[in-house]
């Protein structure tokens, strides 16, 4: 885990992960990504950053659709210029919203599976399984040209899952989905991650991936600005004070006690209704010292009842804003 773009020591063996070794990609004179050193382990990894930060470039690099200007990428030990081995392991749900003409959803998946050299029966069976998995059964035999944006998104997802890959790369997979399908898709990603697969997804909606990711890779202007678990990334950002929300029955009393702490910068009452305080929002330079002191205060004041203690700014949006040094949050 790191908050810098310097080389990251691989935490998993090269053959098991997706490894970027000092990768740069330039489109002519335009920077795609620069000096990327990453090892992506199993589980759900989210690439986060605003449009143009390099998320799709990283995904296209790891699937060989584009080639690095410098550096090397391997996916479970397979170089990305070996499609025959690579795509036996990898499924990629792209953002490209175009399909071969005149096909139905089922034909699209079946034709894709036939490219693997599979027979018609096996391709049909796997296609049906993938269609069922994304719950697109009723529309499977309709022409793709008549699909809504959400249906097109789901059929692409079905295509990427149809051959049961170990590495699933999903570029903005929740775009265009209605809330119900979005929830089903998130559950699907979580189940794929829990099965021990690599699930790499990108999103510019930070709170969306925050809840489901095992780790995040934060990108800004083509650079990886941090990677790891969100909370760990936040913990290493010593230069930014930590916001902590404390729910309790006597917030004014607690405020008086905590304000004695030298590390404390600010304490605000949280009002559940006008004039009715239900908690305290504190800003401290040292979260660990605050938690120890809070324990001491609670032990010394028997009538003070603390109902909840939680960090208020370790979500992906806040972390991203701290990292790229901007006042407003990322698009969320």
């Amino acid at each position: 885990m790191s908050t810098a773009t310097a080389a990251v020591s691989p935490t998993v063996s090269a053959s098991a992960g997706i490894v970027f070794d000092n990768v740069c990609k330039f489109y002519g004179e335009v920077l795609g990504v620069n000096r990327v050193n990453l090892t992506i382990p199993k589980g759900i990894t989210s690439l986060v950053g605003p449009n143009g930060s390099g998320k799709t470039t990283l995904m296209n690099l790891m699937t060989g659709l584009i080639r690095p200007s410098r550096g090397r990428i391997t996916v479970r030990g397979i170089p990305t210029d070996d499609p025959e081995r690579l795509f036996a392991q990898v499924g990629y749900c792209t953002q490209f919203d175009s399909f071969p003409r005149g096909m139905t959803g089922r034909e699209f998946i079946t034709a894709y599976l036939r490219l693997f050299g599979r027979g018609a029966d096996e391709a049909a069976r796997l296609a049906q399984s993938a269609i069922d998995r994304v719950k697109l059964g009723e529309a499977a035999d309709r022409r793709l040209a008549g699909y809504s944006k959400g249906m097109r998104q789901r059929i692409r997802l079905a295509q990427s899952l149809s051959h049961d890959p170990n590495v699933i790369i999903l570029d903005e997979p929740l775009n265009g989905l209605d809330p119900l399908v979005r929830a089903e898709s998130i559950a699907l990603f979580q189940s794929l991650g829990a099965e021990g697969r690599h699930v790499i997804l990108s999103s510019h909606v930070l709170h969306e991936v925050d809840a489901i990711s095992d780790q995040v890779i934060m990108l800004s202007h083509g650079y990886v600005v941090a990677e790891g678990k969100i909370q760990e990334v936040r913990g290493e950002m010593r230069e930014h004070p930590v916001l902590i929300r404390v729910g309790c029955n006597q917030p004014r009393r607690l405020a008086i006690e905590v304000l004695r702490q030298p590390q404390l910068l600010r304490a605000e009452l949280i009002e559940s209704a006008p004039g009715v305080a239900s908690g305290l929002l504190v800003m401290t330079r040292d979260a660990d010292a605050f938690y120890l002191d809070l324990n001491r205060i609670v032990a010394s004041i028997p009538e003070l009842e603390v109902t909840s203690v939680a960090p208020a700014d370790d979500d992906a949006g806040s972390v991203y804003d701290y990292l790229v040094g901007r006042g407003q949050g990322a698009q969320s």
Partner: protein, 355 residues
């Protein structure tokens, strides 16, 4: 059970062949293939009508006439002599012609236009002021004439334009069209070597091009056969040359589709290159499809005495090689171009934003 490579190439072929035949972008390919067929169909209808008219005229002659009878008619002969040798004409048109005499006065001549036929040739004799003024004949084309006409159209329109631009339409779209449609990634996300994608696409394009253009040639030959009453010799040669042209131009345009975004510039450059082939040094000539196709042509179209020097040069084959060498040369050229295209497609990146 086919090998995985064959199964993958077949899967690509199956998808591509449908697109090659029915792509909206390639509709004009059918027009190109249809154009000479329509030309020959129109030519056949016209020739048949003229033949029927000649027979009808010949039947209306007062006595059977031969070419020798008409050869005896010459300018200055009197109208009476013409009528005594040939009899009254089956068609006669009287018309007046105004002219100025030596004193610049307007004179109106009473002219006659006699039309005869011996069954194979039409004769038009203009009688001005009682004497023969002008004689014209129009002979029905012979089988040899038809063969030469067909060979000329085949070499200069069909091969150099119809097949050339038809293959451009079919083969350049195999990769370039999908880049424009932003759908090429469909293949690039499957576990198959890009050389197999290229092979499947090329074979699909070739199947479409050969079907369309060889069928066109076959129908042209059939139409001409109906016209002449005989089957044209060299039919198999024409069809084989067409197939080889599709092979050669197909490979060239497939490679061009991987190299260039806009097909106009490479097509124009290639057309100029192919047209300049007779003027090129011997070594460079060999890097041209038309060089090999020209060697295979079964009928020379520049053998006539009235052929212009430039035309003769354009169709000449100054370094004649055997048909087998020409076929092998064209196949080798195709293989070289496809090998280059394979190298190119291996490093092709999907970057639709630049399309």
């Amino acid at each position: 059970m086919p090998s995985p490579a064959l199964a993958q190439i077949t899967a690509v072929f199956r998808l591509e062949v449908r697109k090659s035949f029915f792509a909206r972008r390639s509709l004009w390919v059918y027009l190109l293939a249809l154009a000479p067929l329509l030309l020959f169909f129109g030519y056949t209808v016209q020739t048949r009508m003229e033949s029927a008219q000649r027979q009808q005229l010949a039947a209306q002659n007062q006595k059977p006439l031969t070419a020798a009878d008409f050869a005896a008619i010459h300018r200055g002969m009197s109208e009476a002599e013409v009528l005594s040798r040939l009899g009254p004409p089956p068609r006669r048109i009287t018309f007046r012609q105004r002219r100025r005499d030596t004193h610049d006065n307007i004179v109106v001549d009473q002219n006659q236009w006699y039309r005869y036929s011996d069954g194979s040739t039409d004769y038009s004799i203009v009688i001005a002021n009682g004497t023969v003024g002008r004689i014209r004949s129009n002979t029905a084309p012979s089988v040899n004439d038809l063969e030469t006409t067909f060979a000329g159209i085949f070499q200069f329109f069909f091969l150099r334009l119809a097949v050339f631009f038809g293959c451009l339409g079919i083969f350049m779209n195999l990769f370039r069209g999908e880049l424009l449609d932003k759908s090429l990634h469909f293949y690039f996300l499957a576990p198959l070597r890009r050389s197999r994608i290229l092979a499947g696409k090329f074979l699909a394009g070739l199947a479409a091009a050969i079907t369309i253009f060889c069928l066109s040639v076959a129908l042209q030959l059939f139409t001409l056969a109906r016209l002449t009453g005989n089957s044209l010799p060299h039919a198999a040669s024409y069809i084989a040359i067409t197939a080889l042209a599709c092979l050669g131009y197909g490979a060239v345009f497939l490679a061009a589709g991987l190299l260039f975004k806009n097909p106009v510039a490479p097509a124009a450059a290639l057309l100029v290159w192919e047209s300049l082939n007779p003027f090129l040094p011997a070594l460079l000539k060999k890097f041209s499809v038309i060089y090999y196709l020209g060697q295979l042509s079964p009928v020379s179209v520049a053998s006539g005495p009235g052929t212009s020097a430039l035309f003769a040069l354009l169709v000449s084959t100054p370094d004649p090689i055997s048909p087998l060498a020409a076929i092998l040369g064209l196949i080798l050229l195709t293989a070289l171009v496809l090998a280059y295209a394979t190298r190119r497609v291996r490093t092709l990146e999907i970057d639709y934003s630049s399309e």
